[in-house]
């Protein structure tokens, strides 16, 4: 992903933030500027990281797998006041060093090195790499394709328990937004074909 190109085109980057954001982008592959201390003005904002947060996922067999993991809060900040939602969406955070270790022997050292580089440079659509996060010596990875909805009360409890460990910087938040935008709403490939019959079944209107 060409972040600078995306930043120039994105409507989510505030005009008065664009210059400083691009200055940060020019530090890539250094992404250390993305995450910092928990936001001191708001106790919960989009992208916040919480430790030991409950998550549950259905595995390929359809069985629920419950765990407590560090998570990143995905919801837009505007939807986080208590009266705005009863559910929040989080993404589990994984230890990049442990992940790299798990790759030993799966492919050639060169292939693993290239994969690690692409992850670190945030070039993989479904992965967000955070290089500096407490408890993760070589950074953390967030799977944007592995989201989990939990009750808002659990977020409230985590906030009150002081479980929040980090927040995105302003420029870091823009990286998150670009990654989310790209992953979830990128242009559909021209190779994707939707049969006319499928369109008809959705609209209920014959197409010919």
């Amino acid at each position: 992903m060409n972040f600078e190109e995306a930043a120039e085109k994105s409507s989510v980057i505030r005009t008065d933030h664009r210059v400083s954001f691009i200055e940060c982008l020019r530090k890539i592959p250094d992404f250390s500027w993305t995450v910092g201390q928990p936001n001191s003005y708001f106790d919960r904002v989009q992208g916040d990281f919480f430790k030991e947060f409950p998550v549950v996922y259905l595995n390929p067999a359809g069985d629920p797998v419950a765990s407590r993991k560090h998570v990143m809060l995905v919801n837009n900040s505007c939807d986080l006041p208590p009266e705005r939602t009863s559910m929040v969406t989080v993404a589990a955070v994984f230890d990049f060093a442990k992940y790299l270790k798990s790759l030993d022997g799966r492919r050639s050292p060169e292939a693993i090195k290239n994969h690690a580089r692409d992850v670190r440079e945030n070039q993989i659509s479904e992965l967000l790499f955070i290089p500096t996060l407490a408890g993760f010596s070589e950074g953390a990875i967030v799977r944007l394709d592995q989201l989990c909805s939990v009750g808002y009360a659990l977020l409230d409890q985590a906030v009150k328990a002081g479980s929040r460990i980090a927040s995105f910087t302003q420029s870091g938040l823009y990286v998150l937004l670009l990654k989310l935008t790209h992953h979830l709403t990128r242009p559909e490939s021209s190779e994707v074909v939707r049969p006319e019959a499928a369109i008809e079944s959705v609209t209920g209107t014959p197409t010919s």
Binding site: E5, R107, Q123, S125, S189
Partner: protein, 100 residues
């Protein structure tokens, strides 16, 4: 390696899109491509590809439209998806972590 009679879109499957962006160098072998209907020519290195793409910006009518769409995405930035072995490794790791 020069490939002939291969649609441009088919060529793209041989080379990760990330390697086609202007900021990355690439090898001659991995960027040989053929333009549909014979224009402009094959290209064999990244700078040549950029020149060809710039030419394409004025919409050469003979360029295969599918290839043009994909190449434009390459130029303007496109993350890549995980390769199969990477996805398998990531899945193995994350499920293991979630169950630990």
């Amino acid at each position: 390696m020069l490939l002939t009679d291969v649609p441009l879109a088919a060529y793209l499957s041989f080379s990760p899109l990330r390697d086609l962006t202007g900021s990355r160098s690439t090898t001659a072998a991995s960027v040989a491509c053929i333009w549909d209907q014979g224009l402009p020519t094959s290209v064999s290195d990244n700078s040549a590809l950029q020149i060809a793409l710039e030419a394409n910006a004025v919409e050469l009518p003979s360029l295969d439209s599918l290839g043009w769409m994909d190449l434009s995405r390459a130029v303007f930035g496109n993350s890549r998806n995980l390769e199969p072995w990477e996805r398998e490794a990531l899945d193995d790791f994350t499920w293991s972590e979630l169950q630990s």
